[in-house]
Symmetry: none
């Protein structure tokens, strides 16, 4: 059992320590780490597999910059950009893309907002990642299935994040 | 030992089977799979860790589209785009970015090519991924250190691919 | 009191004189000055502070080009672009973004205009800056809260401008 | 003298306190504040005035996103984009644009890097902003005069930052 843990550690955990000293000058303390992003990615992937619909999954940090991305076999090529934009959109406006979308429908106050920032995504599938204190440290964006399926995968990723 | 393999399978291998039927209609047989991309990513990461310089690592499929991406803690934000463009550039011209760069220097035949395709990268760090028969199935792009360091990580990824 | 004014002058007013000779050849007489833009920015900021919602505030000149910009702590990252685009949009069509938006709704004459000019903003928060004679010399764009909150800040900026 | 300080406080200092509670969830602790950006902007402006060449000055936060911008009367319209890109470039690669440029000249390893990231600036005038512990929290970009003049203004901004 111990060797199992060591293997898992080796596979997932080897990033954090080796370069900690330098890294502390290069990104703000508290920003999303790669180790955290992998945990979120894994949880989202487990949900996507369970649903059986191939997905693109993107994770961004507090600055809205890509941290991790995976495209499942057979997932839409066109959803690469959508998943990344969903994650960015959520962080750019500090709310889920579903909530932003609700305010951007025909006749709603933010109608037309999607042409800003080189293209925002205003339907569900982008969710915020917050730490234990409620500080926003990143976001996840998912695209590949129905909006409901995308949202379920994004929320599975969020649930894994503490 | 068997349970260890099962766990590893669960962690890395769960993608391939569940949706195999549909996927066979959605992407070309022999195209880079997510499982393969993860193997390449892992090998590249091991090398990057050993070098101690934080990297952005991107992997694209035979169509030149993003398959997997990871940014190590403290890696340049500006290298997200560069690593992806290196991988795309290598696949777009079926040669390493180093080789393309050699032909694109001042006074050389392809001088100026880098402004095409929304920006190509014409220095080392983008390498092709070929299967056992020499068929190009994707590429890896690495950015974050010196060109030599980037190339070493990209080649470590390539070496893991069979 | 005199020395106070001198200090204020030193802090805010030092732009106008030193390079006046050259500047008169470089921008149209009557175009928005940096000193004026700062006055508008300050008035808008006072209103934003009073509302307690963090804002992005952008000011453009008669050519529609950015003159001054500030993002309050915690204001949406995605509103950098929106505030600038609101200011540009107002000047590009010589009306508030609210008025342009009213003409751009589904079924209205300008439906779809927002995809022009690399993305226009067609909801409130962009207002014209006119001099005493009613000549348009620039615009202000505000983004960060509800459309009503954005508009209130933009109008506070306009009110300060004579 | 006291009333002078009160006025200065009113003008420059009113941002920090009012919305501190909410802001702490919306941007990472330690990221560049607007108050800090204004101090840097002011110091850079004083230097620009002393040089007598009209400048565009842009300041970005740790995520590379615009925090503050001012264009002096008569400053190049084309330098709006250049000043912003200089600040972003410095943060994206954690070095001054002068240093990045030195590695990107004809025959150098990073030749051609400038076409990435929607256009990088690879000549002097972009400098990092670091806190007392050496953590990178933003950058300043200056454009309007000779490269030497731009760099002098950027460095004056950096010097004011503690």
């Amino acid at each position: 059992m111990r060797s199992l843990l060591l293997v898992i550690c080796f596979v997932f955990g080897f990033t954090a320590t080796a370069m900690a000293a330098d890294v502390s000058k290069l990104q703000l303390a508290g920003d999303l780490t790669l180790t955290q992003a992998r945990t979120v990615m894994h949880a989202a992937m487990v949900k996507a597999e369970a649903q059986g619909v191939p997905m693109n999954i993107a994770i961004v940090d507090a600055g809205g910059h890509l941290r991790a991305f995976e495209r499942m076999d057979g997932a839409f090529i066109g959803s690469i950009d959508i998943s990344i934009k969903k994650a960015m959109t959520a962080r750019y406006f500090n709310m889920s893309t579903q909530d932003l979308g609700a305010a951007s429908q025909v006749g709603k106050p933010l109608y037309g907002i999607e042409v800003s920032n080189n293209g925002l995504m205003i339907f569900g599938g982008g969710e915020l990642l917050k730490n234990k204190d409620g500080v926003i440290v990143g976001a996840i964006g998912v695209s590949g299935g129905s909006v409901e399926e995308d949202m379920a995968v994004a929320k599975a990723g969020v649930s894994s994040f503490k």
